[in-house]
């Protein structure tokens, strides 16, 4: 315990003697009381005794509080088990401020939380009231090695270098370094099969896959969710319909994923034909009905916030705004490219269909997109 001293200079275990400066002669007032950090004797660290230090009643009270908290914790654990067994998991309960919440969750959280909390509160109360609150001083020691150790280490290193001949055998050294540089390659190469193209996409590069969608010429357009074909008159002026290609369900079944859906989603909007200021291709609308990709060209959120008076389409993710009356151009926000438009028409049965695939890749940009 050599480096451990209490504030009053005694060794650690028997701290707490009175220490006084009351016997300083009165004419000593002009003397500086302290000399700044470092020069200060530990005894001068201000300290206030706690009530429990000198009042046995207070000490006993603290003892009871601590034990009481531990008891409460035990009680809570019992209640937890009771709640776990007794409460209907589907029941709700109204708690002011927190609103309607699950009864079970509330009861379990409360009992478990309080149970754990009380252990902590008890321990801290114990430390605060009953354990000594006298600060002690410990010296720091230099972390750096001594010069002697430094020399010894250097010697060991030199000896190793010498004995291994690392400096001498140039070829060995270089080939070793090269071998070490190459050995991680297999680990990286093996990552290649993180992506194995599905059958339908076999032979397509990533960029080609990103550039194709399920839309082909004559593909009927169906509503999202109910999958019914759409007639032009189903869409009122100012309306917006989320739509998909007719065969989307089949593709999903065949591929067991949602990839095709993620690319093929479109929105149909209808405006008065004379409101359309520009389109991405001549006559790509059908009687004022326009089809745009639903996937934001920024980083790919699906968009469905449409303001039918201004014809603005707003992305909920980063608020890019596209003007659907003006060829889907970006009018504000972080997206850099217009929304791709799908040329549409009607088939002989009078249902809306795609007249051609998308003319450009939909969704976020990628390096090879061009």
């Amino acid at each position: 315990m050599s480096d451990l001293t209490t504030r009053d200079g005694a060794s650690a275990p028997d701290h707490g003697h009175g220490h006084g400066n009351g016997d300083v002669p009165a004419d000593d007032l002009a003397r500086p009381l302290y000399e700044g950090p470092g020069a200060l004797p530990a005894a001068d660290i201000p300290h206030r005794p706690r009530r429990s230090d000198f009042d046995p009643k207070a000490a006993r009270r603290a003892e009871r509080q601590v034990a009481g908290l531990f008891l409460l914790s035990m009680l809570m654990v019992v209640l937890f088990v009771v709640a776990y067994i007794a409460i209907d998991p589907q029941a709700d309960i109204y708690i002011p401020v927190f609103g309607e919440i699950g009864y079970m969750n509330f009861a379990l959280g409360l009992t478990f939380g309080l149970g754990v909390f009380c252990i902590g509160a008890g321990a801290i109360q114990w430390a605060k009231k009953l354990m000594p609150d006298v600060e002690v001083v410990q010296e720091r020691h230099s972390l750096a090695s001594t010069p002697h150790e430094d020399v010894e280490t250097a010697e060991q290193y030199e000896r190793g270098k010498e004995e291994s001949g690392f400096a001498q055998y140039k070829v060995i050294r270089r080939t070793l370094i090269a071998a070490l540089a190459l050995f991680p390659i297999p680990l990286v190469v093996m990552l290649r099969d993180l992506w194995t193209p599905t059958d339908s996409a076999a032979g397509l590069s990533p960029a080609e896959q990103l550039s194709t969608t399920a839309w082909v010429e004559g593909m009927p357009i169906v509503t999202d969710g109910t999958y019914v074909k759409i007639r032009p008159e189903d869409i009122p002026v100012g309306g917006l319909v989320s739509a998909l290609p007719e065969d989307i369900e089949e593709i999903q079944k065949a591929e067991h994923n949602l990839n095709a859906r993620g690319k093929a989603a479109i929105i149909l909007v209808r405006m008065e034909p004379d409101e359309i200021r520009a389109q991405q291709g001549d006559g790509w609308d059908y009687q004022g009905i326009l089809a745009y990709s639903k996937i934001c060209t920024h980083v790919g959120c699906p968009i469905a916030l449409y303001e039918h008076r201004t014809h603005h389409l707003l992305c909920p993710c980063h608020q890019s705004t596209f003007d659907l009356a003006d060829a889907g151009n970006v009018i504000f926000g972080p997206a850099a490219r217009r929304m791709p438009q799908l040329p549409i028409g009607v088939n002989e049965e009078g249902f809306l269909v795609a007249k051609a695939p998308f003319a450009e890749p939909i969704g976020p940009s990628f390096w090879e997109r061009g």
Binding site: G22, E135, E139, V299, Q319, W367
Partner: protein, 765 residues
Amino acid sequence: MSTTEKVGESVATYVDQRVGSNRFLGRSLKKVFPDHWSFMLGEIALYSFIIVLLTGVFLTLFYKPSMIEVVYDGSYVPLKGVMMSEAYASTLDISFDVRGGLLIRQMHHWAALLFIAAMAVHMFRVFFTGAFRKPREFNWVIGIGLVTLGLGAGFSGYSLPDDLLSGTGLQIARGIVQAIPIIGTWAAFLLFDGEFPGTEFISRLYGVHILLIPGLILALVTVHLMMVWTQKHTQFPGPGRTNDNVVGYPLMPIYMAKAGGFFFIVFGITALIGGLVTINPIWIFGPYTPDQVGAGSQPDWYIGWLDGALRIFPNIETVLFGFTISWNIFIPSVIIPGIVFTVAALYPFLEAWVTGDKRNHNLLDRPRNAPTRTALGVMAITFYVLLFIGGGNDIIAITFDLSINSIIWFLRIAVIVLPPIAFLVTRRICIGLQRRDREKLLHGYESGRILRLPHGEFIEVHEPLNVKDRAVLESAIEAYRAPLPAPERVDANGVANKHYRIDVIRYKLSRWFYADDIVPPTRAEIDAGQAHVSHDAALEAPLHAYDEDETVMVPFHGGVLHTAGEPATNREQLEERGGNLYLHTIDPSSAPATPRCRGARHSSEALLELLGSESSALPQGADEEKFRRDQFVTRPSRPLASGHAPLVGLRCRDGPCGSGTALRARGSHGDSRRGGAGRQRRRRRADGSSARIGSRGERQPRGGRAHHRQPHRRGHPRGPQRPLPCRRSSRRNGPRPNLHLGLHPARRDIARRLVPGEPEVSTPA
């Protein structure tokens, strides 16, 4: 020794013989840790990480990391029969069909938020106090690594439930990966096994979330703590605390109990919050499909700033030789965070290079003593907050009915303009605080009390600094460094300096770093100043009654001394009367039926009689005549809360009563007694009113009054200076003259010296 202890001892011996653990344990159990509330931030981070580990393991027992589509058939009715991924279905099961599952899920999420929040605040504590300086640079770098991993852990966890919200987050992440030049497309395909969303990503993320990242965090946390252990904790400056020691409480038993208890407290609170407050109610959002999105979707708070950067960045994209570079995505979501984290990690080395400081630092800086660093930190926070606001711009637009466009334009400009402004303002504030510290070191506290000396001169009494404050303020001496000297082109031997250009840059940066720092006074200057102040305070001291329990005001009405607890006067009332001057004197007209206060001797005797208390013992060896003349010392009959009989002293200075007159102006201590629970108690006259007479410009007496002899006797109260009559205040029914009590500890020391035999602090055996 109890049986348990005996078993424990033999186990300890058994283990020790095999691994030599007792040596380590013995040293460790007495290890000292300094105490400060801000040192608990790191603890909170550690504990919440442990909670996350525990609850996470529970979740793995029920969660299925699979994107296979299934039909939901659990007990949450609105989604019955809906197609969804197994991941989402199992998360619904955890929430509705596993008893306690929702509690654990919510605890996991809350603890994750707490984990990252605690790390962030802990990081700022370390930054602003300079705890990252030598020898702790590595630990800072590890800390930055932990924050980064924490973000990764949070994001990967957030994506696991595969609800509509988390899927949207993944889609954005995919878009970001895809925007990386050259490798982006391939990287995205490898990560997702093809196109978005694919069927693999959740299970891949799962491994990352429950094994890779927690494993790395655990490893880094271990190293982090081992370094704290060997390097020993830093401490704030204070009495007895030096760069070469640690002052605090020993691990056994105090820290065992406190830190262990605190773990349970954090755990308990997390459980309470998990039980009461819903977080991430995934059942509301529904299963993920790539063609739907909820409006107003928001990431967790720690991702918000990155989302904000993505939102406000201008839409620049270039096509070069047939290749697309999406600056609008790449810069805000890859480059900017990359720079932020790199600069953060390198900061300790950059600062050390600029300042040329190679010393070890175990005493923490007060933020004001490193103005440029503090300003840089505030600048970073400003930048972060602006981006964070950007992340919620849609919510702000709706809540405050603003246009999104104008918010974005405001932020685009503000992100560039406001951080530097924050820098400048913070630095000025720090330098102002430094200046004030300097004043305090040289001249003590402004007491706000005016003392009229026998020959009529008014001075404001300054109080000597107490031990704690002085130690804290003096840390400025260690913290202060002059800028580096200008480099020479050629050295003394005529050898050209090869690094001249670099040295010039460094020199300029160093000048910038230390620009305008206030030079602290030397120790000798401080001693001289404080001695002077003590002397003055000692002159005035006996005019006041002393009271151990400083929260109690003891008013003094016209010469009648009331003991503690007088209901008519409390601190609020005193503050209300702010600005008034109070007469502190023994008022001859107000001690009815007693001998008039004609002189010091009379008054003290009269009062002694009035109070009927016993006079205190005469100091050993003191001249009784002098003592009785100068002192009036008594003890109220009622002991105060602290268990000590307060020491009460009064003094009339020589000459007719009232010639030694203390006036009280509204306190002017400002922040002189800062922080710390212990100090809180003493903050009685400190009510932030320093502006009244504390502000610098007014230090000099107006009108150049000749009585202003002492250089440190500055600061007369603002407003007309009326000579105060030695009579009861005319505002008879208004506030009565008060003897303001509760002494500064340093002055209490003086009082103690005057009256030895004061019961001393003692701890129970």
